[in-house]
């Protein structure tokens, strides 16, 4: 049928099918800003459009319903490349980061301002209530509206956007428009889905209905003969290559315990077959006709079950070692079933796969037994964290194709170079045959550090030579993605009467689920990003990770730190109460300070001995004192309604800035022929502004405007190696590499100018807006002429700065988060009244983006603490595998008073003094909220999430 309607001021006649959604119709006519992140759940708002002046979800309307309607999409907000005032204000407020839902936010806010010139905060919350924002925590949307009004009414901003840092620097530490903001907020082509070409095949996955079973047979004969089917890949025709999905440094600290498809499925949703067909419909139809013979096995879901004698063994194949094989391996490997596959260890991980132990780590400093012996009080408590989902707005998606007889992978990834390595391994080809192009990433949060769909799609393309699109459904995002490892952490702590800690012991038991990706590093972070906060001389940890049949786990912003922080900070609060000491006083007494030697790091390397370093720049004390003042620590608050009790809590936090001794970043900066610059950074900007950091570093050194600089990043053909964006490495590692490249180019420019100007280079300096100035002769040479003359055929060639950054120096960010909650003693409901995140990020290169990341990570971890939890039934099936059932925080869950504060510290190792900012902000909410709940109602909530039901149980209200 034909629909007559007006779309973005154009009268159109559009052919549709009765089942087409409005989104399908609009997408088909080129409105690419109308995206989809919930498969038509009507939750997240990526599909928001305005029909007859009313915002609606385009996925929830049939195309047929818009006959005669006037439709407006976000694609129409900018005119010939000129953004509207709302879009510009959004960029400048720092809220356009992963950007996947930014066009829809711009559409909604534009609509709001057209109907209400000066909306209240409540009106803004109302209009954004149907929009899911995971990256920036909503807070600065209010600032964006304020800025938009100022731009509209005055043509310029009156309000200060963010604090500024470093008066001696011109652009670093100042708020400027994020360089990829325009394309993201306008909804221009940016993401993998925007690169798919006509004729691309679709890949869908047949997944296991069982948590644990052998796959005895997969009959694809009928499906293979169905129309459009290109290939079907199963355990019986895939390469016999064992690898793992974690994008980590090589050799990886994870076992190779999977193939593309295995003879054994290990969780509900595990891969059984990939079906590639010319259309999605054909692939789905073929999937229905695949017959699988399973031999169902008993399943286990908890650490306790995995530890039990005679527990079902999840990875019961033989162990192989690429290095450091233990004695007795032959005996260890006896009596295995070939359907189990095998487990290959790049190096020993203290694993025992035949007893469900995926990895282990152990270490200590001082004499813990003696420390406990000298303590006046010793307590031991166990804390449990749950399995939570990253929920990036853009689901995992990849587009693979052959170009020039090479494999090209358009990926939404945090780790382009690791992805290239793993894909090459799976396809059994050399890395030079693979090109990975990292597109804009619509949210990663760690989950896109794992190679979850790219491996299968790439292999399918390599063997069929067909272009293939593979995209997870939202349900697949829950059941076949990386999630936070559930952990059971026991903390034993001893202290003297005055609050001095004498000994700390952490026993971490982590649940890695079916496969061992990140099974060492994530659980280790529960210790390595928490114990170094303390100056206690006697500390010990044991980390053990177990295989089970829960949905896969992996990297998630913070790695294991949020869970370790929850346990350690809770226990500190508990011992303070045992001692009768103010928890703040106890924290101040036992925290580290600049210069303290972090001996504990020696045993906390990721698979090898760590480097002991002193505490460097450290805003921990300032954050504690300032946060305490802000929240009026020690002042008891009460509520008129006696059902509501108010309490306060806090937590000290830290993270890292990449992995010193492991990470590596490289970059080059090219001086173009007209005097502009091209940065080629191996770093992977996942929306957090790394490309902007790169551009700012070059602008600062070369003394030019940002407009003179372009950035290409994360393309393995064009840029040089970088380990990728994880472990908070971007600013510190990739940024330092860019800074080194810029300084290298500065030297080369001065040297070239000295030749061209016939001057001593020592007398030359770079000056704004891009000239070489002679202090001796007062002569100037602009970059355009310099570059042109270097490239005239008689010059000395193109000037390229190169930077390679590795280090053993740590740039540790510190902070403290404070919370005030109100708890209803009759309903168990928790309201977050105040949440203050105070963090030391060194020099925040992009302060407005840094603040928004603090808001985003804080709200995300508030969600993990209060609401989010993947719930499995007795068969291991996730019963809340969509947004609505799962329960992510939306704008309605914002704390009443939500503030992010940047503590000013200048780091000696970071680029211009910068440290990481975002990941650390996930570490504070759980302990701060749990401690505040205790302060309010006197119960310790020792497991995530702190639901009303759990609080009621602790209060003795539920029998």
């Amino acid at each position: 049928m034909i629909i007559h309607c007006t779309v973005n001021n154009r009268h159109m006649e559009i052919p549709v099918e009765p089942w087409h959604s409005l989104r399908t119709m609009l997408h088909n006519i080129g409105c690419i800003a109308v995206r989809d992140s919930d498969d038509g759940e009507g939750f997240s708002g990526s599909d928001t459009v305005v029909v007859n002046d009313v915002p609606v979800f385009a996925n929830l309307m049939l195309a047929c319903q818009v006959e005669g309607c006037v439709i407006r999409t976000a694609d129409d907000l900018s005119t010939k490349g000129r953004l509207n005032y709302v879009q510009q204000a959004m960029i400048d407020a720092g809220i356009v980061q992963d950007g996947y839902n930014a066009p829809q936010a711009a559409l909604l806010l534009t609509w709001l301002l057209e109907h209400d010139a000066n909306p209240t905060e409540e009106a803004i919350k109302d209009v954004l209530s149907g929009l899911f924002v995971r990256d920036t925590g909503y807070k600065n949307y209010f600032l964006a509206v304020k800025l938009a009004r100022e731009l509209r009414d005055h043509g310029a901003y009156k309000s200060k956007i963010a604090p500024e840092f470093r008066e001696n620097l011109s652009i670093v530490g100042k708020s400027v428009s994020k360089i990829d903001g325009r394309q993201l907020v306008a909804g221009w082509k940016s993401y993998v889905e925007d690169r798919v070409e006509p004729g691309a095949c679709s890949l869908v996955m047949l997944r296991s209905p069982y948590a644990h079973a052998y796959v005895n047979e997969v009959d694809t004969s009928e499906a293979e003969n169905m129309p459009g089917v290109v290939t079907i890949i199963t355990a019986f025709n895939c390469p016999d290559v064992f690898y793992m999905s974690a994008g980590q440094g090589n050799p990886e600290p994870s076992p190779y315990d999977r193939r593309l498809f295995n003879r054994k499925v290990r969780h509900v949703g595990d891969r059984v077959a990939a079906i590639v067909a010319e259309t999605m419909e054909q692939a789905l139809a073929a999937r229905e006709n695949i017959k699988v013979s399973y031999e169902v096995l008993p399943a286990i879901f908890t650490v306790e079950e995995a530890m039990a004698p005679n527990a079902p063994i999840i990875q019961n194949g033989p162990a192989e070692y690429l290095s450091g094989a233990p004695d007795g391996l032959k005996a260890y490997n006896m009596n295995t079933d070939e359907r189990e596959g095998k487990v290959v260890y790049p190096f020993p991980l203290h694993a025992d796969n035949r007893h469900n132990i995926a990895a282990g780590a152990h270490g200590s400093i001082g004499d813990v037994a003696a420390g406990f012996a000298e303590a006046d009080v010793v307590i031991e408590r166990t804390y449990q964290s749950s399995q939570v989902q990253c929920t990036p707005s853009e689901p995992h998606i990849v587009y693979t194709k052959i170009d020039n007889d090479r494999l090209v992978v358009h990926a939404s990834t945090q780790v382009p170079f690791h992805l290239r390595r793993i894909v090459a391994k799976v396809c059994q080809i050399d890395e030079n045959k693979v090109r990975v192009i990292k597109e804009r990433v619509g949210g990663g949060y760690g989950s896109k550090q794992d190679i979850l769909i790219e491996d299968v799609a790439a292999y399918a393309t390599w063997v069929t030579k067909r272009a293939i699109l593979s995209r997870n459904s939202r349900q697949e995002e829950f059941i076949a993605n990386s999630t936070r490892h559930p952990m059971r952490i026991t903390v034993k702590m001893g202290a003297k009467k005055d609050g001095t800690l004498t000994a700390v012991y952490m026993d971490v038991r982590a649940n890695t689920g079916p496969y061992g990706n990140h099974c060492l590093t994530v659980p280790m972070n529960a210790c390595s990003k928490t114990l170094p906060l303390l100056s206690c001389p006697n500390m010990k940890f044991d980390v053990t990770t177990y295989y089970t049949n829960i949905p896969p786990t992996g990297a998630y912003q913070g790695y294991g730190a949020p869970k370790g922080s929850y346990a350690l900070m809770m226990c500190m609060n508990e011992i303070a109460h045992e001692l009768g000491v103010d928890p703040l006083e106890l924290a101040l007494k036992n925290k580290v300070e600049r210069g303290f030697m972090l001996e504990i790091l020696k045993s906390l390397g990721e698979g090898r001995e760590g480097t002991v370093v002193p505490v460097g720049s450290c805003g921990l004390g300032t954050a504690l004192v300032k946060g305490a003042n802000m929240i009026q620590w020690g002042k008891h608050e009460s509520c008129d309604d006696s059902d509501w009790k108010i309490g306060k809590g806090f937590a000290m936090i830290q993270q890292g800035s990449g992995l010193p001794g492991l990470d590596h970043s490289t970059c080059d900066v090219v001086l173009n022929t007209d005097g502009t610059f091209l940065i080629r950074s191996g770093g992977a900007d996942i929306g957090t502004g790394l490309d902007t950091i790169s551009a700012k570093c070059v602008a600062e050194v070369m003394k030019v405007d940002l407009e003179k600089i372009s950035v290409v990043s994360g393309d393995t053909d064009i840029t040089l190696f970088d380990t990728g964006s994880y472990a908070s490495s971007g600013t510190y590692f990739s940024g330092n590499a860019t800074l080194k490249a810029a300084r290298d180019l500065e030297r080369k420019v001065l040297a070239e100018a000295a030749l061209q100007m016939d001057e001593d280079s020592a007398a030359l300096e770079l000056r704004y807006p891009g000239i070489v100035y002679s202090r001796t002769t007062k002569k100037e040479l602009d970059y355009a002429k310099l570059s042109h003359d270097a490239l005239t055929g008689i010059g000395r060639g193109q000037l390229v700065g190169f930077g390679s950054f590795v280090t053993n120096n740590a740039a540790i960010p510190y902070g403290a988060h404070f919370a005030q909650v109100a708890v209803n003693v009759r309903t168990g409901k928790v309201k977050v009244q105040k949440y203050y995140a105070l963090q030391d990020a060194g020099t925040p290169i992009n302060p407005e983006l840094a603040l928004c990341q603090m808001y985003g990570a804080s709200l995300k971890s508030i969600g993990h603490s209060l609401y989010e939890h993947m719930i499995l039934d007795k068969n291991g099936e996730c019963t809340n595998a969509d947004f609505t059932r799962y329960g992510v925080p939306m704008i309605s869950e914002l704390p009443d008073d939500f503030q992010a504060i940047l503590i000013d510290e200048d780091d000696e190792f970071g680029p211009f003094g910068a440290k990481s900012i975002s990941e650390i902000a996930t570490n504070g909410a759980a302990p701060a909220l749990a401690n505040a709940i205790h302060d309010a109602v006197g119960v310790w909530i020792r497991s995530w999430p702190f639901t009303p039901e759990k609080i009621l149980r602790e209060l003795g209200k539920l029998l």
């Binding site: 038509g40 939750f43 609606v56 979800f57 929830l60 309903t827 969509d882 309605s892």
Partner: protein, 281 residues
């Protein structure tokens, strides 16, 4: 999946189309359920109600009439609609969804996390609906909403036309208990009462409990009306022997039972406080 789409031109036309389509026919109001991922509706023939004159809101001397094609947001934006109805519409926390979801759609679904049904039952609303008689003529009925709730299957081929709030001054208050504002509710409950005689009488108590359905609680209605209801607190052991509460992702059966009891106690206190203020909510 929808395979056919027709716009009904009149109520009669809509009902005829539904009769012709049989079990495959489905009235398409706002679309937030039919087109939603995970919908339980299985019809393939969509009958659009968009052009039917059942969107209006009218205020009479003693009644407010709301056309069932009115969206939840339209209700909120209409000044004369009683506040309790607006509160119930706001239980749908997403403005964008409220712009689409209709009163009729929400009532017809009778979901166990229904936004509106507990409130309209508590309000003693009446429902105007149309059915096609055996001879093809339209039969219009005006029934108490409790009848629709009790005999839903009987009205499966009917088209809801309007809801009538006969006594907009009636005390009605409701609560929705969910983990986040947009999570599915474990319990939604509403209490209604006539306070005009300076006493609590004509009580209606209706709840939607996830996994258990939508139902009235006559035994508590009775105790509230006769003055014997005693809200119990510490701890509440809420007894509803006829109702099976189930464990699910919104909470355990024990929790739902407790929180329903607590919510009823709170609503009762509100009601009593309103009585003290002369019936003002």
């Amino acid at each position: 999946m929808i395979s056919s789409f027709t716009v009904a031109t009149s109520v009669e036309h809509a009902l005829q189309l539904k009769r012709e389509a049989g079990s495959q026919g489905v009235f398409l109001a706002g679309g937030t359920e039919i087109n939603r991922l995970g919908t339980q509706l299985t019809g393939t023939i969509a009958i659009s109600l968009a052009n039917l004159p059942i969107q209006s809101k009218e205020k009479g001397k003693n009644a407010v009439t709301i056309g069932t094609m009115g969206t939840l947001q339209m209700i909120i934006d209409t000044g004369f609609v009683p506040d309790y109805m607006k509160v119930a519409c706001r239980f749908c926390a997403s403005r964008t969804r409220r712009n689409m979801a209709t009163v009729g759609g929400n009532l017809a679904l009778q979901r166990d996390d229904s936004y509106l049904m507990p409130t309209v039952v508590a309000a003693k609303a009446r429902l105007i609906l149309a059915t096609l008689g055996p001879d093809g003529s339209i039969v219009e009925e005006n029934i108490p909403i409790r009848e629709y709730l009790a005999f839903k299957d009987h009205f499966s081929d009917s088209l809801l036309l309007a809801i009538v709030l006969n006594k907009p001054t009636r005390f009605v208050s409701s609560k929705r208990i969910a983990l986040t504002e947009q999570s599915m509710a474990s319990v939604t409950v509403a209490l209604g009462s006539d306070l005009s005689s300076k006493e609590i009488h004509d009580v209606r108590l209706c709840t939607a409990v996830k996994g258990s359905g939508v139902f009235r609680i006559p035994e508590i209605e009775e105790t509230i009306a006769n003055g014997t209801y005693e809200p119990v607190d510490e701890p509440v052991v809420f007894s509803l022997p006829a109702v099976e509460f189930v464990d699910d992702f919104t909470g355990s059966a024990t929790y739902k039972r407790y929180i329903l009891g607590t919510a009823i106690a709170d609503l009762f206190r509100e009601c009593r406080a309103a009585l003290g203020k002369g019936g003002q909510t």
